[in-house]
């Protein structure tokens, strides 16, 4: 009788061991399948989300610009999508909606709100908009005297996997602000072609006569590969643009705001010049005297400046170049500073990142598409992973 009990005990132990082993081994046998299933599920959801982001206008259809000069309220957006308004073409995005993704002084769409509108509970995602190709640029300015500036610039063009892009045409537009009887901004463009290693470089000397002085200098690169183009803005380091004003364009309106909590943000600054530049023509939108209350911004009652320029959004403005008369952090009193706007993408090597890419090595799915924003080609990438 005790022997039988031992046998049954042994049977229970052995069966228990077999059960535990089965529970451990069987899932691992099917791990690859489960992994593929998981990946495929993520990919399907990412594809669906990307389709909504690129092809849907959202609701209201003009949600990116509906607030006009007022602060944007994300709760007014009932459905999300970046497609341009009333355009039958696919993959064309609305610049006003894209601007609501980045840090926008007039309000932006929060990550949680977008996630809710896309119905992605249980998942996290990131959206990156970047130029078709990578442009590494550098600019150095040497000033032998106040009236002369020697500008050296380099631009290396490559794919994102590091492969160089030869024969890319690099247009470098040098813009410099001149302190004279008026405060004007001038520009000249130099064309280069990348060599077999994707490198291009050039130099240019600009000078002014009389008592005029060259102040801020900025270089804007436009790179085209087989006429598919991208713009990268390079700034001289004497000024940090965001210290002076945050630029926002909503439809035909330009809105500038003084950034809070910046050194010197209490100082007055004047908009002396606004130009619309598309690498072929330059149109002056505004000329200010740079004194008195003429287009002045100041902390307090004048911390927002806005003006409407009818036809601005439909005229494909390229870039907008703002010249300010402002304080400088260093010695020398008031100086001139150039800012380029309005789109957030241009302030960061042309890349707009929305939410961080996951740092863990867990499964994620990525969908990538070519899109067009303001006539320029970009790559939109949506990456999705489980929370």
């Amino acid at each position: 009788m005790p022997g039988e009990a031992y046998d049954h005990l042994m049977a229970v132990v052995v069966l228990g061991a077999i059960f535990v082993t089965a529970v451990t081994v069987v899932p691992s046998l099917s791990y690859v399948n489960l992994f593929y299933l998981d990946q495929q599920q993520l990919r399907n959801i990412a594809l669906s989300a990307m389709k909504t982001v690129l092809f849907d206008e959202g609701y209201p259809a003009n949600w990116g610009s509906m607030s006009g000069l007022s602060q944007f309220n994300e709760n007014d957006v009932k459905r999300f999508g970046l497609a341009v308004l009333s355009d039958p073409s696919f993959y064309v995005l609305d610049q006003d909606k894209v601007q609501r993704l980045g840090n926008n002084p007039m309000g932006n769409l929060s990550y949680q709100k977008m996630k809710s509108l896309l119905g992605l509970s249980g998942y996290d995602f990131s959206i990156v908009l970047r130029p078709l190709f990578n442009v590494k640029k550098s600019v150095s300015v040497v000033r032998p005297d106040d009236s002369t500036a020697n500008i050296n610039f380099k631009a290396n063009v490559s794919r994102y996997d590091g492969q160089p892009v030869p024969n890319a045409i690099v247009w470098a537009t040098i813009i410099y602000a001149v302190d004279d009887t008026s405060y004007m901004t001038y520009s000249l463009t130099v064309k280069n072609v990348t060599d077999s290693l994707g490198r291009s470089q050039g130099s240019q000397t600009v000078s002014v006569s009389g008592n005029a002085k060259i102040k801020d200098v900025i270089v804007i690169f436009k790179v085209t590969v087989a006429d598919r183009s991208t713009i990268v803005v390079s700034s001289q380091d004497t000024n940090t643009p965001n210290d002076i004003a945050l630029i926002n364009a909503v439809g035909d309106n330009l809105v500038l705001t003084i950034p809070p909590n910046m050194p010197g943000s209490n100082d007055a600054r004047w908009i002396t010049n606004i130009q619309m530049y598309n690498f072929e023509t330059s149109v002056s939108l505004l000329n200010g005297s740079g004194t008195g209350n003429d287009n002045m911004m100041n902390y307090g009652s004048l911390n927002v400046w806005s003006q409407s320029f009818p036809g601005l959004s439909s005229s494909d403005p390229g870039v907008l170049i703002f010249t300010f008369r402002t304080e400088t952090l260093g010695p020398g009193g008031r100086t001139l500073a150039i800012l380029v706007g309005p789109y957030a993408m241009w302030g960061n090597d042309g890349v707009l990142s929305y939410n961080a890419v996951p740092v863990s090595s867990g499964a994620s799915a990525s969908v990538q598409r070519d899109v067009i924003i303001l006539g320029m080609a970009y790559v939109a990438e949506l990456r999705l992973w489980k929370t």
Binding site: M1, G3, E4, D7, H8, M10, A11, V14, L15, I18, F19, A22, V25, V26, L29, S30, N33, Y36, L37, Q39, Q40, R43, L47, S89, F90, Y91, V92, L132, F133, R159, Y160, D161, V165, N167, V225, A226, D227, R228, V367, Q368, R369, D370, V371, I372, G375, A377
Partner: protein
């Protein structure tokens, strides 16, 4: 009494062996089923994704009014460069252009990636895109873009 106990012991041992064998059979069956109940090959999905990429790239180049210019002005280097910078980094392509009768128009090789990449790939996507003509000339061309991942 000893005989009966011995018989019970043998029965017990047999039950253990039966249980072990049954468990082995069940586990083997489950493992066998899992091994064969594979997820549908991802090649189907992969081809679909590559087709979407191919159509997206051709459409965007066309949207910028460059595709017809490349094709009708025989800008083969430009169309190759435009496609290279437009497709994702791990995607290789081969483009062939036909007239409406299905005859190749005799352009140089428009390809990114070696022929081996195409030969070795298990999933090749093919996208057909038609352009009707350039400016006012109606002269359709059929673009067949083949894509693989490297």
């Amino acid at each position: 009494m000893r005989k009966a106990w011995s018989a019970n012991s043998s029965k017990g041992q047999m039950r253990v062996i039966e249980a072990v064998m049954a468990a082995i059979i069940v586990i083997t069956a489950v493992a066998f089923l899992y091994a064969f109940a594979a997820t549908p090959s991802s090649q189907t999905y992969e081809t679909g994704e590559l087709e979407k990429i191919g159509h997206n790239v051709l459409h965007d180049i066309d949207e910028q009014r460059l595709l017809t210019r490349y094709v009708y002005n025989s800008e083969w280097a430009n169309i190759t460069a435009a496609l290279i910078v437009s497709v994702p980094n791990d995607v290789y392509f081969n483009l062939t252009i036909y007239d409406v009768n299905g005859n190749s128009i005799g352009h140089p090789l428009i390809q990114y990636g070696s022929s081996q990449v195409f030969a070795d790939s298990k999933a090749v996507a093919s996208v057909t895109y038609i352009v009707s003509g350039y400016q006012t000339n109606y002269n359709p061309r059929i673009l067949v873009l083949k894509l693989v991942r490297g």
